[in-house]
């Protein structure tokens, strides 16, 4: 254990990111950059990807249904807070309850599936994602079908009710959530449980031989990931005052989360943050702006299939996955060898 100076701590990328993030609203406000909406989305996706990182990054299980747990979180928050239902909780108790519901949902799916082989588990999570979407869409009497549950209340903090007048309180609150979840993930990673996860990712058979209860540990990772995804869902619904339609939580969202984790570097928490910036920055900022610039130049029209930025998303997600797997399977910021399981920091 080497004592590190404050400077070496500040030079760490995640702390630097946080410092930059703290000042972004200022620049956004001064220069009218229009960043507040993509940035808030970026924070929610970062939380979702941090959840996936626990499952796929730490424990090595490919999870293709994160959007389902996000949907469960959003709808749980909606049902607990919206005034057409009997519960009508406020933000904080609803968020706590949503987290618990996320854990339960994760454990329910995890219990029968944790013994499955990697690729079968991936397909089961994918199928679960589709089923959740269909059930939310078809059970109209409970979930309002494609209309989504709305309106939903925003957070209340120190007497301040978060509303639509300013995006910046939202930004700081959600940034706070990201910071808390990053700290929780880092502590988990260094705990006995986290070391067990990393061992399972490295070699499950060897981990079992060392006495690690692999199935139980995997289930713990799965439930943790589900809880974090549920929080992301609740924050999403609260931000937009609506759960939106179930199709908002489709396979594309799960794959976007996977892209973020893979681009950043599986298992690397700072990597996930960088990956979220890169992917959401690309999909929600660069693509629409390039498209509108091209439209202003008169090179493409909104009506043409090439002019709609959303049409390029699939292609970008796909290319990212294929090229990363081929050329940099460990991501932009791989987990460094020195920080592997057991190395004390």
């Amino acid at each position: 254990m080497r004592a590190r100076s404050i400077w070496s701590r500040l030079l760490r990328l995640d702390v630097a990111l946080l410092v930059v993030a703290l000042f972004i609203p200022l620049f956004d406000h001064w220069f009218h950059l229009g960043l507040s909406s993509p940035l808030r989305q970026c924070l929610v996706y970062a939380i979702l990807a941090l959840g996936l990182n626990v499952v796929t990054g730490f424990t090595g299980m490919l999870h293709l249904g994160m959007a389902a747990f996000m949907a469960i979180g959003a709808y749980a928050y909606g049902i607990l807070t919206c005034d057409i239902y009997p519960f009508q909780l406020s933000f904080w108790p609803a968020l706590a309850a949503t987290t618990v519901i996320g854990v339960i949902a994760g454990a329910l799916l995890g219990a029968p599936t944790m013994a499955l082989r990697g690729d079968y588990l991936a397909i089961v999570t994918l199928g679960f994602g589709e089923i959740v979407q269909d059930v939310l869409k078809n059970l109209e009497s409970i979930t309002q079908g494609t209309r989504g549950i709305n309106p939903l209340p925003g957070p209340v903090m120190f007497g301040h009710r978060f509303g639509t007048e300013s995006p910046y309180p939202w930004f700081y609150l959600y940034l706070g959530f990201v910071v808390v979840i990053v700290i929780v993930c880092r502590n988990l990673e260094r705990s006995r449980t986290g070391r067990a996860w990393l061992a399972i990712r490295g070699d499950e058979l060897a981990a079992r031989c060392m006495g690690i209860p692999a199935v139980r540990m995997k289930m713990l990772a799965f439930a943790t990931g589900a809880a974090i995804a549920a929080i992301a869902g609740a924050l999403w619904a609260s931000l937009y005052t609506s759960t939106g339609e179930p199709a908002n939580y489709d396979f594309q969202v799960s794959v976007l989360a996977l892209c973020i984790v893979i681009v950043g570097g599986m298992g690397s928490i700072t990597g996930v943050l960088v990956g979220a910036l890169a992917m959401i920055g690309f999909a929600n900022l660069l693509l629409p702006r390039t498209a509108s610039w091209l439209q202003e130049q008169g090179w493409v029209t909104q009506a043409s299939v090439f002019g709609n930025p959303n049409n390029w998303k699939y292609l970008v997600f796909g290319l990212v996955l294929v090229l990363m797997m081929r050329f940099r399977p460990d991501g932009i910021l791989p987990r460094s060898v020195g920080r592997r399981a057991g190395a004390s920091t």
């Binding site: 090595g60 490919l62 293709l64 029968p112 599936t113 499955l116 082989r117 990697g118 690729d119 079968y120 991936a122 397909i123 089961v124 199928g127 679960f128 589709e130 089923i131 269909d134 059930v135 869409k137 078809n138 396979f251 794959v255 996977l258 893979i262 009506a303 043409s304 299939v305 090439f306 049409n311 390029w312 699939y314 292609l315 997600f317 796909g318 290319l319 990212v320 996955l321 294929v322 797997m325 081929r326 399977p329």
Partner: protein
């Protein structure tokens, strides 16, 4: 399927069927026909899985592109006006065109995306396949914006496209029969059954089939015996792609509509079929395909269309959890 041909005299002999029976028979016909198509696509999944243990996620979307190529050919040749014998000839052209295209494209995908990762962890390969699937979906989306009248003039790229019926929809059981059995069902049987027989022959009795079985059993040992493993895997992708191309053209003619997302739906049905039958097993894929086709048809008919995907995915999950080796996977160890 022999079941269908056996039904013809039975129904013709007894026109006084109860309405419930008529409904049941109609669902049965639709289910069996779609089931045979699903089986053909499922073979593509099961062959690739049997040989390199990859869930080839992109297979369904590869088939989508085959369907889009077929619609492009129809538009280019003005084939939507063809009927009768010309219609049948047109279908034959589409089948060959789409099968050749899908075979070639599947080979290219394997060569460029999967082959460099042969020794990588299995999940790396799976993620690559998911990425490839997204790329193909996007290509289909852009293709749907092609400025042709068959694609709606290119204005609604994402909208489902009408696929002209080249084959007569007249009821073969006579105009007054309530049970529908048309030339389209005959087309399905006429295309899928010979292909399945040919594939079985190829895998059982040819040199290529023998080397495929050898590679499936043990790639290292196979290469030590002088088998060019990469060539055999390439051939597997070519055959799987070709069957997918045949299958999707028949699917498009039979169901009359295609869309850029059809590959995801059809692909999940076919994959579920492959898993249900026992992944890696050819007879399993055919059996699973028929079962999933029937399940879909009966769920559409007796339950509700909107619940059908849930039913199929539930079957997929339950099979994976409780019987991962599928119906035939444990007994028949013949992996392709």
């Amino acid at each position: 399927m022999p079941v269908e041909t056996a039904l013809i005299p039975a129904i013709a002999a007894d026109p006084g069927l109860s309405p419930a029976m008529v409904m049941f028979l109609n669902y049965l016909v639709i289910g069996l026909a779609n089931g045979m198509i699903i089986a053909l696509i499922a073979i593509g999944y099961t062959m690739v899985y049997g040989i390199i243990e990859l869930i080839n996620f992109a297979h369904g979307d590869l088939c989508t592109l085959g369907a889009f190529l077929a619609l492009t050919i129809i538009g280019a040749l003005g084939m939507d006006q063809w009927s009768g014998a010309a219609g049948w000839a047109g279908v034959a052209m589409l089948l060959i065109g789409a099968a050749g295209f899908c075979a070639g494209l599947n080979w290219i995908i394997d060569r460029t995306a999967y082959r460099p990762l042969r020794n990588a962890p299995k999940l790396t390969l799976l993620v690559t396949a998911i990425g490839m699937s997204f790329i193909l979906v996007n290509v289909a989306l852009f293709w749907g914006g092609a400025p042709m009248s068959v694609f709606g003039g290119g204005n609604q790229a994402a909208a489902p496209k009408h696929f002209p019926s080249l084959v007569s929809a007249a009821n073969l059981l006579g105009e007054d029969s309530m049970v529908m059995l048309t030339a389209r069902e005959m087309l399905v049987v006429g295309v899928t059954l010979p292909l399945m027989v040919a594939l079985t022959w190829l895998v059982r009795f040819t040199r290529l089939g023998k080397s495929m079985r050898a590679v499936a059993q043990n790639p290292v040992a196979a290469s030590l015996m002088g088998i060019d493993v990469d060539r055999v895997i390439g051939a597997t992708f070519v055959i799987g792609g070709a069957l997918g191309g045949f299958g999707i053209v028949v699917y498009a003619v039979y169901n009359g509509s295609i869309s850029f997302q059809m590959g995801y739906r059809t692909g999940m049905d076919a994959f579920t079929a492959a898993v249900l039958g026992g992944i890696g097993s050819l007879p399993g894929a055919v059996l699973g395909g028929m079962l999933i086709g029937l399940l879909r048809a009966f769920s559409d008919g007796y339950l509700e269309t909107r619940w059908t995907p849930t039913v199929v995915f539930a079957v997929l999950i339950l099979v994976l959890i409780f019987r991962p080796s599928g119906l035939l996977g444990a007994k028949i160890r013949e992996k392709v």
